[in-house]
Amino acid sequence: MIGAMHYVFLSLILFVLGLIGVMVRKNFITVLMSLELIFNAANLNLIAFSDRFSSLSGQILAIFIITIAAAEAAIGLGLIIALLRLKDTASLDDANEMRG
């Protein structure tokens, strides 16, 4: 029988993977994908718990998060395009004009 705890552990693994991805990877696209992992880890939790409590609020929040993540991805891709035009690169390491 698969219980809520199983989902939590799966989501935790996804969350940690996403965190590591954001911190370690240098390519903006990969970072965006890692961010998606984090959001979806949260979604997984919300839906699993929503099912267990038979309460809808978790699912509703999950739908909101999906929408927001889409908007976030759109903005992220827009920024990548602007970065590509200005510096011909999608690597975060090349964003280094400001220091201190």
């Binding site: 954001v22 961010l35 959001f39 880890a41 949260a42 939790n45 609020s57 998060i65 004009e97 201190g100």
Partner: protein, 485 residues
């Protein structure tokens, strides 16, 4: 739910609709209509403020609306009016700046309005879901605003960094929310409060959830060690946007912080208070020290704003009713001082994008005595010297900390306030004690609207500093909201 349930939400609906209208108008007006668009944005904000006063005020005690998603209370009204004021001032300051740039005004104005809607939802959210949606509406708008000057490398870079770390913090926050939901079975703030109060011992998942929500919030208000995005975002963003994001979103994040931690997580205050203590102390020490060596004024003010978040956090550490309203008052005061200070940076930006150093201020007192005197007021205010409002803000936060028994933290705070004088006074020294003949200082831009807004901020800083009574009374009315009375 009937249509009349939406009446208290009219201000937000109106503002969002106005934002959409301005977005469309911007497309037809193009580059010519910057002043018209910004003017209509300001008008929409003023109307919203009136609507908040008419429809958005609680009748009697706190009032839960829209199926428990939002709450009307004095805390919400207080923060909403601060945010609207910040948006108005920031928008007016942007007009000339945008006109001098190659960018249009439609998207800009509407993004500021959308961000304001998001902040207003954050101020009155009664449910983690609505708070999160409000937060994202604000954050997404602000990412675009920071990168609005898309042909400037610095602006783009600031947006990229702000976006990555902002989205990461949102992710951490929402994952924490999912864990809190999973262990406590509700997203409602009052429900969480009851569930936590009924729990003898926290289980690990709930504990982790609270910790992650805390990390997310600390990211949003830029507390050490979650502050790394701030200096770059502030330096690279167009200066009016920097002015805006340093006050509006910060006040909104603090409102949300107060609601979640002093509202919902209050039963576990003993557990998270120590962490906040350390974070506040680290922030004040690190940010004030780092600001000492900055030569770029915007970057220095960025570190200064981190430090101010540290002072405000002391009120949350105190965790008392006085702690709560002292944070509210602090945000109000900080808004005016910081907007004014950034207003000057806008006026000094005659040397191209984001290239303002402290030496540009040399001899300002001789060439523009009134402007220098205004900047002096803001520097004194930010440093917390009487008789400016900054002193009053710090006084109440410190008093709250002392009252709650945190004398050690208060000592750190006052020592670091003294340290902060060094960097604020680097500007004063340049303005007053150097004659600016050898350093080729920058010329001031003449922009009547920015000057008018600076004057408003000077007046507010001095007035609240000399006569804080009414503002304190107003902030104190907010404490009944969280039942901390």
């Amino acid at each position: 739910m009937s249509l009349s349930d939406f009446i208290p939400f009219v201000p937000e609906i109106f503002l969002a609709a106005a934002g959409l209208g301005i977005l469309l108008a911007g497309i037809t007006l193009g580059k010519k209509g910057v002043r018209t668009l910004i003017g209509s944005g300001v008008a929409a904000l003023i109307v919203t403020a009136v609507l908040v006063w008419v429809f958005g005020r609680p009748q009697g005690g706190p009032q839960v609306i829209l199926g428990g998603m939002l709450v009307l209370d004095n805390l919400a009204v207080f923060f909403k009016l601060i945010m609207i004021a910040a948006s108005i001032i920031a928008l007016i300051m942007s007009a000339g700046f945008l006109e001098r740039s190659p960018y249009g005004g439609g998207e800009y104005t509407s993004l500021v309005l959308f961000a304001t809607v998001g902040m207003m939802v954050m101020a009155s959210g009664a449910n983690l879901a609505s708070l999160y949606v409000g937060l994202e509406l604000m954050a997404l708008s602000v990412y675009i605003l920071v990168g609005y000057f898309k042909l400037e490398v610095k602006s783009n870079e600031a947006a990229v960094k702000y976006f990555v770390l902002g989205a990461l913090s949102s992710g951490i926050l929402v994952y924490g929310i999912s864990l809190v939901y999973g262990t406590l079975g509700t997203l409602d703030l009052r429900g969480i409060h009851q569930a936590l109060a009924g729990m003898a011992k926290l289980n690990w998942a709930a504990g982790l959830g609270i910790v992650l929500v805390g990390f997310g919030m600390l990211f949003k208000v830029a507390i050490v060690p979650f502050h790394v995005w701030t200096p770059d975002a502030y330096e690279g963003a167009p200066t009016p946007v920097t002015a805006f994001i340093s006050v509006g979103p910060k006040a909104a994040a603090f409102a949300m912080f107060l609601r979640i931690f002093l509202g919902a997580f209050e039963p576990n205050i003993a557990a998270w208070r120590t962490v906040m203590w350390v974070a506040a102390a680290a922030t004040m020490i690190f940010a004030n020290t780092a600001a000492l060596t900055q030569n770029n004024v915007k970057r220095m003010l960025a570190y200064s704003s981190i430090a101010h978040a540290g002072y405000a956090l002391m009120g949350i550490v105190a965790g008392t009713a006085m702690g709560l309203w002292s944070v509210m008052l602090y945000m109000l005061i900080y808004t005016f001082m910081n907007l004014g200070a950034f207003g000057f940076v806008i006026l000094l930006e005659s040397r191209g994008y984001a290239g303002e150093t402290i030496q540009d201020y040399a001899g300002l007192a001789k060439r523009h005595p009134a402007a220098a005197a205004g900047m002096l007021v803001f520097m004194l205010g930010l440093a917390g010297i009487p008789p400016t409002a900054g002193f009053m803000g710090k006084l109440y936060v410190f008093a709250a900390a002392v009252q709650a028994g945190y004398v050690g933290l208060t000592v750190i705070a006052v020592v670091m306030s003294a340290v902060s004088l060094f960097y604020y006074f680097r500007i004063v020294v340049q303005m007053y004690l150097h004659d600016g003949e050898e350093d080729e200082p920058a010329e001031l831009i003449r922009d009547r609207w920015v000057e008018a807004m600076i004057f408003v901020c000077v007046a507010a800083t001095l007035f609240i500093g000399v006569y804080p009574g009414p503002m304190v009374g107003w902030a104190r009315a907010g404490i009944s909201a969280l039942g901390l009375g």
